[in-house]
Symmetry: C2
């Protein structure tokens, strides 16, 4: 199977397949006499493993670990489980953050569309003086002025 077909059947971009090979996620495939990549069924399965992992939001590094764990005859299911749980936690965290964002945006958009004149609630929300959560300036060392501004 040539690269184009391998890419199509595993649902990823042709250049992505070469990229996975370049970073060592996919083994270097056989070559035809004219230098074309020739993928075995196993290669394609591995590629599908990767794309499915990506669909589930695993990073390429995590997928690398999963592949390694998978090939380990010592069968370390608990490590796989741990990796998946950690990853799930991260996704849930991200969902929470995005939901918070969405909520705030929705709120702002609603109040904005009420008064469609002079003041825009969305811009106001962005310009607002609310100080960022926790941050101290780096000890201004008795910062005497800064009067010598030029140009």
């Amino acid at each position: 199977m040539k690269i184009g077909e391998a890419a199509a059947t595993s649902g990823c971009h042709l250049e992505t397949v070469r990229y996975y090979e370049r970073i060592g996620l996919l083994p270097k495939p056989q070559r035809t006499g004219s230098g074309y990549r020739a993928y075995s069924d196993d290669d394609v399965r591995r590629l599908r493993f990767i794309t499915r992992g990506r669909e589930l939001g695993f990073s390429l590094d995590e997928i690398r670990s999963l592949l390694q764990l998978s090939s380990d005859p010592g069968l370390s299911c608990s490590e796989v489980d741990q990796l998946a749980r950690t990853h799930l936690g991260e996704i849930e965290q991200r969902v929470k953050e995005l939901s918070r964002m969405a909520k705030e945006l929705r709120r702002t958009i609603v109040t904005c569309s009420k008064d469609q004149r002079k003041d825009c609630a969305i811009l106001d929300a962005l310009w607002c003086e609310k100080s960022p959560t926790t941050n101290s300036a780096p000890k201004p060392r008795k910062s005497r002025a800064m009067t010598d501004v030029h140009s």
Copy 2:
């Protein structure tokens, strides 16, 4: 105000401030006699605008638009509103995708922890033969074999 303080009060990394200047999101600030950046209150407000925008998930390009709309005396609130609504839609989409991922992962993790032996449900899910949604191979053009594999 020097860069370190400006960064701290607006809640972003010092190098990020320089980055925003480099890409033209933040105007080039005044300089002290010794070449240090000297930020005005307006500069810092603008920086805060940017960081707040980022917190709401706007891209730097979107923030650039918001800043431009904001400075427009012709007051085009509807454009701001449109941008925010589009952005909200994207965030909601992302939340949906991530929630789907999380759901599938949770399902897989649960079934995996049941049988903590030979077969790992998580790896199985990744190795599974389920073909990717919609994808046709690129017309194998009667692809005659590929028998000439070498090396």
